[in-house]
Structure formats: structure tokens, C-alpha cells
């Protein structure tokens, strides 16, 4: 048994499929074991639409509460925001905008990745 760093990679747009919310749930889940693995949530491609500040987070509120407690980082890829014409002013306060280069580094730094 060993603590792992896990990148939760949310790529699909909300709300047409459940992948966004199940990914968010998995991020809480991977930290729920004996080892308390460390998740990081990365929104990219159409997944970045979930980062809009007016998005309805009702079905994931409990997960966001957990992230606060765990200090989980929530990141969105700038290039993917730009491609969709989304500005930082439109994003929720808890989202950190990172470069594609930094996202690449996240893949290298984490032990595992899960795509949703």
C-alpha cells in the first residue's frame, strides 16, 4: 500500500453525460482509503465549461466541500478556455487557470490519471 497522486481529468462537457459529476465523485473517492491518496482535478477540452461561475453545482456540492477540507486543487487549462472564448472573469473563484505546459507537468507528477 502506498499513497498515490491521482489526476482526475475531466474532458467532457456537463451536463449531457454524467462523466463530469462521476469524475468529481471519484476525486473524493480516491482519497477515502487508508492511504488518503491525493487527487487533483483538471478540467480541459469541453470539460472547462464546468468552470463557469454560473454553472449549477447542486449535484456536486458535497464533493466541493470535501475538496476544501482536503485542499484539492481545481485547475482549468488556459488554452482550452481561450479556444472556447471563456475569460477568467467568467470562472468560479475556486478554479485556478493553468497553462497547457503546466497541465502536461501534472500528468508527469501524478502517479495515475483517470479520464472522464
Amino acid at each position: 500500500m502506498a499513497e498515490k497522486k491521482v489526476l482526475i481529468n475531466i474532458c467532457r462537457a456537463p451536463f449531457g453525460t454524467v462523466f463530469y459529476t462521476e469524475g468529481l465523485r471519484a476525486a473524493v473517492g480516491v482519497s477515502a482509503g487508508i492511504d488518503e491518496n491525493i487527487p487533483t482535478v483538471l478540467f480541459q477540452s469541453d470539460g472547462v465549461f464546468y468552470c463557469l461561475k454560473d454553472v449549477d453545482r447542486t449535484d456536486a456540492l458535497a464533493y466541493f466541500e470535501s475538496y476544501k477540507g482536503m485542499g484539492t486543487e481545481l485547475c482549468a487549462v488556459k488554452e482550452d478556455l481561450d479556444e472556447r472564448g471563456i475569460t477568467e472573469a467568467e470562472l468560479a473563484d475556486d478554479i485556478t487557470v493553468i497553462s497547457k505546459e503546466r497541465a502536461f507537468e501534472l500528468f508527469q507528477e501524478n502517479d495515475f490519471s483517470m479520464d472522464f
Binding site: 491521482v6 462521476e22 473517492g29 482519497s31 491518496n37 490519471s113
Partner: protein
């Protein structure tokens, strides 16, 4: 021997993922590795007995049964199971255990590689 964990998120008969799961898991087992599967979202339907299909093709559940017999450990997400009215997996084949996200966490901790399908 090493340990492979595979998270499956798709059900049978809709996407190819259950077939990929079966092929990859079988190949790993045949090489003497341990395989653990976490079945999430619609993939829990793969475990239901009584699957029928008009043509003579391998049923998803039969392929999964073979993996279990070869030693694969499979855990189905309990919230996903009950959300779909599957009543704690009472119609599941033997060897597929209904669990929870802490099982996923332990699977992650113990795995040497992690694949999502």
C-alpha cells in the same frame, strides 16, 4: 507479478469498452499479473446474470465470469448499482462484489498501473 487496476465506466452492448476490459484483463492474468476491476457508472450492468442475445455471440457477462474464474477481483460501485435499481447486485454473477469508493481508493493505493476504460 504486478497489479493492474482497471476502471470501467461503460455498460455492455453500447460501447466497445467492456470488450477492451475483458481482453486487457485476460492478457494481464495470462501473464501472471493480478487484476482488479472497479466498475463504475453503467459498467455495473456487465455483472448481471440472465443476459440473452439472439445471435450466438459471447455474452458480456460470460466474458466477465471467465475473468473472475481466472482470478480477477471485481468491485462494483454500490451507489451506481442501487441508483440503477439493481438492489445490491442480487442478480450479479458470483465474484463481483458490491463495494464503494473506499475500495477504489485502496485499489489505487495497491496498483502498479491504472487504466480507465
Amino acid at each position: 507479478m504486478a497489479r493492474m487496476a482497471i476502471m470501467l465506466t461503460e455498460g455492455p452492448w453500447q460501447t466497445e469498452n467492456y470488450e477492451i476490459f475483458a481482453r486487457l484483463a485476460e492478457a494481464a492474468l495470462d501473464k501472471g499479473h493480478e487484476v482488479e476491476g472497479f466498475w463504475y457508472i453503467d459498467s455495473v450492468y456487465n455483472a448481471i446474470k440472465h443476459q440473452k442475445f439472439p445471435e450466438d455471440v459471447p455474452l458480456p457477462v460470460e466474458r466477465m465470469k471467465k475473468l473472475v474464474e481466472k482470478g480477477a477481483k471485481i468491485i462494483a460501485c454500490g451507489i451506481c448499482v442501487n441508483a440503477r435499481g439493481l438492489e445490491g447486485g442480487k442478480e450479479f454473477i458470483d465474484g463481483v462484489r458490491v463495494g464503494g469508493l473506499p475500495d477504489l481508493a485502496d485499489m489505487v493505493s495497491d496498483a502498479d498501473t491504472f487504466i480507465t476504460l
